[in-house]
Symmetry: C2
Subunit: 196 residues, 2 copies
């Protein structure tokens, strides 16, 4: 399936910043990390800060897979640690080996082009080259799910800076998880706290 044949929107990639779990690999080692895929009309981008495995892998391999999921535990785990190898599904297309997540609702594989590197980050343009739909699951918006994502973001900032204000924000999002989340969101939030 090539770029001209499909619209990333059919696989869940809409305008704005899509919160996905990006999987990359270096040699035989797959890696997963939550990343925002930026879509502005028909252009897609990814901005990666230096120092992460995703940064190194994208620089080396010029490819990645954006996995769409609403599983809060996948966001919590992949924020702080790599996922177990069993979470990935080795997939080959046109002689390329990629590692989407088994539990993704859908995924889009991208080639990275026009990569620009600054002192802090890289920005790559993304060209969709392959995509797959596993299961379209309808789910009402849950504020607890979103609060887990926000908590993961603030936890990353806290780990980078040690600033107390991020702990306060995480605690506030914890209240939303407690009130609005189901068991999945509550378990994921506990996991965030374990890693802090």
């Amino acid at each position: 399936m090539l770029e001209k044949d499909f619209d990333p929107e059919n696989f869940g990639i809409y305008d704005g910043i899509c919160e996905t779990i990006v999987t990359t690999c270096k040699g035989w080692t797959p890696n997963a990390a939550p990343m925002g895929i930026i879509r502005r009309k028909d252009k897609l981008y990814l901005r990666l800060f230096k120092g992460s495995a995703t940064y190194e892998n994208v620089l080396a391999e010029k490819s990645l897979v954006a996995n769409i999921t609403h599983d809060p535990m996948l966001f919590a785990l992949s924020t702080f640690t790599n996922l177990d190898d069993s979470a990935f599904e080795q997939t080959v297309y046109e002689n390329n080996t990629i590692y989407p997540l088994k539990e993704a609702e859908s995924w889009v594989a991208f080639e990275c082009i026009n990569t620009k590197i600054t002192s802090e980050a890289l920005v790559a343009e993304l060209v969709p080259v392959h995509a797959h739909m596993n299961e379209c699951r309808i789910k009402a918006p849950n504020r607890g799910f979103y609060a887990v994502i926000e908590a993961c973001i603030h936890a990353t900032r806290y780990q980078l800076t040690g600033e107390e204000k991020y702990l306060k924000l995480i605690k506030a999002y914890g209240e939303i998880v407690e009130k609005c989340g189901g068991d999945a969101e509550k378990d994921a939030f506990k996991k965030v706290y374990e890693f802090l």
Copy 2:
């Protein structure tokens, strides 16, 4: 379709608080308002504060429809004003007339039983009696979408209390919408500001 025949989960109602748009009617006048459907395992509840059209309609008719949608404009509009009549789709089942939203991804009609009324609110148990799936659309989580929902909640609190702190929170969520939202989220957030 009766209770025993379907699981609300198949129509998007999961554990925790599901952010839905609840439609009710009094006579021939349908009404829409964002409401959280509470699910704890197999029990479903709704808590309604006195003074809203939804409260009056549920008290009178003992029924409601929970509409699942990820359209931020539907949340913004139905928070502050009733939707245009053309947004509803009159639907008859077993001699009952209900008014789900045309644009809902799915909806579940509930009968309200064991209604408990306190001085401030009512709490009803919800029994699913009918459901429909329009379209399962896969969409990556977007922080801007959730920020619109949070802004609507704080806007309601602001209108009730006039407290400045809610305006500050709305402004903070506006920054997330600006950064992460697509056009749909940005337009919806503008609408929130228009109503304030």
